[in-house]
Amino acid sequence: MLKKRVVATVVVKDGIVVQSINFKKYLPVGRPPIALEFLNQWGIDEIILIDISASKNKKEPNYKMVSKASEKCFVPLTVGGGISKIEHVEKLMHCGADKISLNNAAIYQPNLISSAAHIFGDQCVVVSIDAVRTDSGYKVYDYLNKKIINDSPSEFANKSVELGAGEILINSVDRDGSYLGFDYELINSICKVVSVPVICSGGAKNADDFIKVFENTNASAASAANFFHFFEHSVNITKCGIKKKIEVRLETHADYSENEFDENYRLQKKLDSVLEEMLFVRIEKEVI
């Protein structure tokens, strides 16, 4: 059976991983290779690496950063930011990217979607849509020029799939960094019109939000950015929480299946007697 995917979005600005709040405020987190190595070790299902400074500064993708970051990433890596030519896609594929994410290019150069899909296959092309809620419903948002496009995200998604997009990544700008949970209405509006997998993003706070989005929408994958960076084993712990209700992949000895959580999915301390016994448990590092 196909598992629901738990995805980490790593937002990079000027070579540094940042926490993004409403696409407006950015707080530094650390270096991309370290962030990816840890997410990978903690059992993330997929990583989306978005360079938000590349397009803004009219620069090509930062290939050196991508190839350094991908070295210890043994899960699928989608790279976005600064892609405006087919050569950029080709170079990224040689730097360790498995898929590319088109955002601004999808708005202004839709032909790039089809040309990339023809050469690299449609499974390689993710179209990323930033959506905002307006008085006349959801609209596509152009974050570079900070303007609202007159297309609804579902129309836009549909057009992209016709051009060859293999996945749709839908980001709620309003929920970005808000910890208010995913926007089901927005996500469902996309899932209803496209047959390709939908990845949703924006608003996740803990495992509960993942459970709810998988129960209330047909999304194949859900992504979080910020909260994965801020505590040890964040991915394993989150997935352990999700797995109580939804099928996700959790193949590690550190699966937290015997732990208790509080209402915010924070780990509870184990009983002293259990901790004492654990003193004598030796866990060998797995050698492959």
Partner: protein, 207 residues
């Protein structure tokens, strides 16, 4: 064989860097990414990666004269080869992806579009557990039913006797094939975390 010479076939469209990273992390140092006959001839084992549309892949193989080079290495010299994703589909007789295109024809069968019930999204993207069959050595180091990362819209439809692993996605999707020294996996071991690294170890230890 200890420390085999490994060549990852470079034909322009594969994610060669990812595959090389994964194998390198297992400690294999005699590892090359190449399309040169001399280096391919010197290799003990070959890997045919793949991210791309079938037609583009076949055309690139032909342009670099790799079809005849590989035929010699694999069919006559019997070198073990592992095809990954489109690299596995290339083993087939032909593919129906955007028109009919001839493949390498090493394992009889054809590559067809996934025909799925409505609730199943296409492409088939994500982690799916693989049921392993016939004790294929590539799975020697994996626990049964391990999850691997899939990302494809077409599948390899071939005789049951070549199928050494399948997964369920609306129907039994061919996940791994083997015919003598020729191996292929539909999923991406280089992107399947520890399960994938174990598969590479299984394959490279079996030669």
């Amino acid at each position: 064989m200890k420390n085999p010479r490994i060549v990852i076939i470079d034909y322009g469209v594969g994610n060669t860097y990812s595959v090389s990273n994964a194998i390198d992390s297992l400690g294999y140092r005699r590892l090359r990414i190449s399309d040169k006959e001399e280096e391919i001839d010197n290799a003990d084992v070959l890997i045919l990666p793949g991210v791309g549309a079938f037609k583009a892949c076949v055309n690139n193989l032909k342009e670099r004269n790799l079809v005849s080079i590989l035929n010699k290495q694999v069919l006559i010299k019997k070198k073990p080869i592992l095809g990954i994703c489109v690299g596995m589909q290339l083993l087939a007789s032909f593919s129906e992806e955007n028109g009919v295109h001839e493949g390498l024809g090493w394992i009889p069968g054809n590559v067809q579009k996934l025909q799925l019930p409505e609730q199943f999204a296409i492409p088939h993207v994500g982690w799916n557990n693989v049921v392993m069959k016939n004790n294929c050595p590539i799975f020697n180091h994996n626990t049964p039913d391990s999850n691997f990362y899939f990302d494809h819209s077409y599948f390899f439809n071939c005789d049951e006797k070549y199928v050494v692993g399948y997964c369920n996605y609306g129907f039994k999707v061919t996940a791994a094939v083997q015919h003598e020294n020729i191996f292929g996996v539909q999923f991406h071991p280089e992107k399947s975390q520890t399960s994938g690294l174990k598969l590479f170890r299984g394959f490279l230890n079996s030669i």
